[in-house]
Symmetry: C2
Subunit: 492 residues, 2 copies
């Protein structure tokens, strides 16, 4: 079939080795990773031969994609988007009975901020100025410190922002980026595609996935001895796949570390609205830095935000932004240049980003229903997280840290040696072996921890907290039954 | 301001040199290139000090962004999008009076093809299967040859597809891509960012920007002698910035050339709906290849399409696709891998791409109004192109090929030596000097030909045909007056 001119062995090796280096891009490849491909095959089998499997549906717990599992979009956001997409509606009388009054006035305001009201035009490459003003106001109100529209780059989800920064910072394989392990594989993939070195630092599972400055320092020093020029530190807070929320003091130490070591702080803050415990709150790294008296001169800092997470979960809209502070004007020009090569991010995503940073306020017509939708989603997610955490911890050989935030549990599996041997015989990592058996027995789809990185010799799975709440008890009982059977079968 | 750790001299040089290599990314940087920045400054001056300039408005002819200049979106497309964004509308009685019946039924069909009707969920990384089926059907009906949903990769506009292919094909600076000169700077920028070599071939202005196979062969052989491994040929048809529509016979020669030389044919076909002359029609390269009896085994071929162009001009929606044929399964897997790192393109753009490839048909409720909107836009564009072409050709020292397609005129300026000397004294390329003087005298914004590449010693400007039709006479008379004055001032 192939024309001989193009074959895998003459493609860009940075692309080709991506999977070999990181056998576990199953998370990024959730739609096609080995386990998910198998799940889709089983789903087809359930359709064509009902009753042929020991379960009657596939339960996807593998990807942070809430609306694919039935989460409803927030009404206010969708009303505004529909009105902006089809502004003729604003001139029709019927519209008043179909849309809430504040959605109508918000859409009117947004359209007025777009040159020519043209939601179908390319915008400024950083995004529409009026929307960036709104986002900056939302950040300022969140943090209590000023934010500037000129620092905002609107992007199609958070990923393009991460790629832009990697493209800018990485010159060659001697440029390193400090990344947490476990990590969201976007980072390892982006570093690999741009030809840099991933410098790992391990989160401490025994302290609830704490980030230890001493380990950061050690990894940094080791890398420098190897001739790696470490350019930046990635922190994911709340954590993915680990679900921890960093303590304020820890954040201060991280900021100080970056300042002292001359590192760019790349703060993945896309789960900033997903907090499930009373004793923790989200603090942006910018707020922490400013509260320490650090300003633009002290620290180059990038904060990534996305409309895909939070209580909104609008993954398909591909909206997001990065806020960049502490970069010189010439460097900012380079960032702008990279942004402008793709012209601009999609305007619907831009509008949505402005909305999630400025939702309805008390007194607005939609406020009560908006708040009920938001609280309903977040409280349900908290209950689901707690129920799954308790279930995992009740099982032999599983320990699971609390999900303080984000959308995932990352339980550790202490597998019997016989299971590890069986995995080896099947040419699979033990956690992948476990996840496949789990799928085949129960229809539950999780991602093996090897997809995110883990301390060698430990095994984990990542399980989202996103299946509909009424399905959680069934997931738990199926999981329990499988796990007990698995442990019994492979007991040493 | 700058943290010392990040400075231009320690950024990725592929990013930093981008502008130096190609001083003319003003097109990509239309929102901020020297001339456009100056135009924005003048626009502000007009607001704060009306009457202080010899014109009363800025006339943007610099970028293919129709809706920014007042082109209205096609109603049917926006109706469907609004309904898909806010599907609750489909349950309301009032909706029937606000939306056309076929928009309602199309939105219903589209939602039914999306798993869980979730327009807020990440899709398959190639795009939603049902939408790809619709696009494949649209391609098949356009070409008269089958198309396959598995070959379609939906993208945020056409640019990400181009970047993906460059990322895949370019291993190092010895990998070359044949590109037309003049060219749309996306190609030069993408090749530079991925570290490859741009192998130029010149379009022949004297034959209406014809593509000469003999020049292609010569450039290919010269590059090979220099050790360049030429991987692909970029063809832009209809041409940007040159506006020509390739003749069928020419296309057949290009296909044969690619097959014989083992090149990937990268066909930029985003202007496929923008044809303004009766004696030419758009033929996709896939149709041409299939009509020659070439199949998947003969030729790796990528066709890029976008919702930003055509009569729809939906630049802000960032929709598009690439259709890839003739690649082996392992190579396709690598393409998929690159696509999946960013999860998926935005769903609104995906829906729009399915709509532009399957617009209303005779008999549909919207058909008459849709056709009136479409024909109105295309006929007006054709009149604008003709009027501007005639005006340019009526002027001393300007020759302008016919705009057969796309959205641009690319007239050649024969400038007096004194003007060239004055440009040199001002440290500017003569065409940039001319464009700046034009702006300052008339408010008309064009992009100098040096932004696209041109035969050394020739000078051009790119002027879009997009200003509203009622403004064209004023543009022409202002342009004429300026040009006559300029020529008089610098006459040798």
């Amino acid at each position: 079939m192939a024309a001989p001119s193009v074959a895998v062995d003459n493609l860009n090796p940075k692309v080709v080795i991506l999977r070999l280096l990181m056998p576990v891009l199953n998370c990024e490849y959730a739609v096609r990773g080995e386990i998910v491909i198998h799940a889709q095959r089983l789903q087809q089998q359930l359709q064509t031969q009902p009753g042929s499997l020991p379960f009657d549906e596939i339960l996807y717990c593998n990807i942070g994609n809430p609306q694919s599992l039935g989460q409803k979009p927030v009404t206010f956001f969708r009303e505004v988007i529909a009105l902006c997409d089809h502004p003729c509606l604003l001139e029709k009388e019927e519209t008043k009975s179909l849309f809430s009054a504040d959605a109508i006035s918000r859409a009117t305001t947004i359209l007025a901020s777009i040159p020519g009201r043209a939601t179908g035009a390319y915008s400024h490459s950083q995004g529409i100025k009026g929307l960036r003003d709104a986002i900056a106001a939302g950040i300022a109100s969140r943090d209590g410190y000023p934010a500037n529209a000129d620092d905002i780059f609107l992007t199609d989800g958070a990923s393009p922002g991460v790629h832009m920064m990697m493209q800018l910072l990485i010159r060659n394989e001697k440029d390193g980026i400090l990344c947490p392990i476990p990590q969201y594989p976007l980072y390892s993939a982006s570093i690999a595609l741009h030809g840099g070195a991933l410098v790992p630092y391990y989160l401490n599972e025994s302290t609830g996935w704490g980030l230890e400055i001493s380990d950061l320092k050690k990894q940094l020093e080791d890398s420098r001895l190897k001739g790696i020029d470490v350019r930046a530190l990635v922190v994911i807070n709340p954590g993915n796949p680990t679900g921890q929320v960093l303590a304020e003091e820890n954040q201060r130490d991280i900021v100080k570390f970056c300042k002292n070591e001359g590192l760019v702080l790349l703060a993945d803050e896309v789960y900033q609205e997903n907090i499930y415990v009373d004793n923790k709150k989200f603090n942006s790294f910018k707020k922490i830095a400013r509260s320490m008296g650090y300003n633009e001169d002290d620290l180059p800092l990038v904060s990534f935000q996305s409309v895909s997470k939070g209580y909104y979960g609008e993954c398909g809209k591909r909206g997001g932004y990065m806020e960049i502070t502490g970069f010189s004007a010439p460097v900012r020009e380079q960032i702008y240049k990279v942004a402008s090569v793709n012209l601009c991010s999609n305007i619907t995503g831009q509008i949505l980003a402005s909305l999630v940073m400025n939702p309805p306020k008390a007194g607005d017509a939609s406020y009560a229903s908006y708040k009920a939708e938001k609280d309903g989603i977040l409280q349900s997610l908290a209950r689901r997280a707690k129920a799954l955490e308790n279930a995992f911890n009740s099982l032999e050989g599983i320990t699971c840290n609390k999900t303080e935030g984000a959308m995932y549990l990352f339980p550790q599996l202490s597998l019997p040696q016989k299971a590890i041997d069986a995995a080896k015989a099947a040419n699979k990592a033990p956690d992948a072996f476990y996840a496949l058996r789990l799928l085949e027995a129960t229809g539950i789809v999780v991602v093996p921890g090897s997809g995110f990185g883990q301390v060698p010799g430990t095994w984990h799975i990542r399980c989202t907290i996103l299946p509909q709440e009424e399905k959680i008890p069934a997931i738990i009982s199926r999981f329990k039954a499988f796990h007990e059977g698995f442990m019994a079968a492979y007991r040493d």
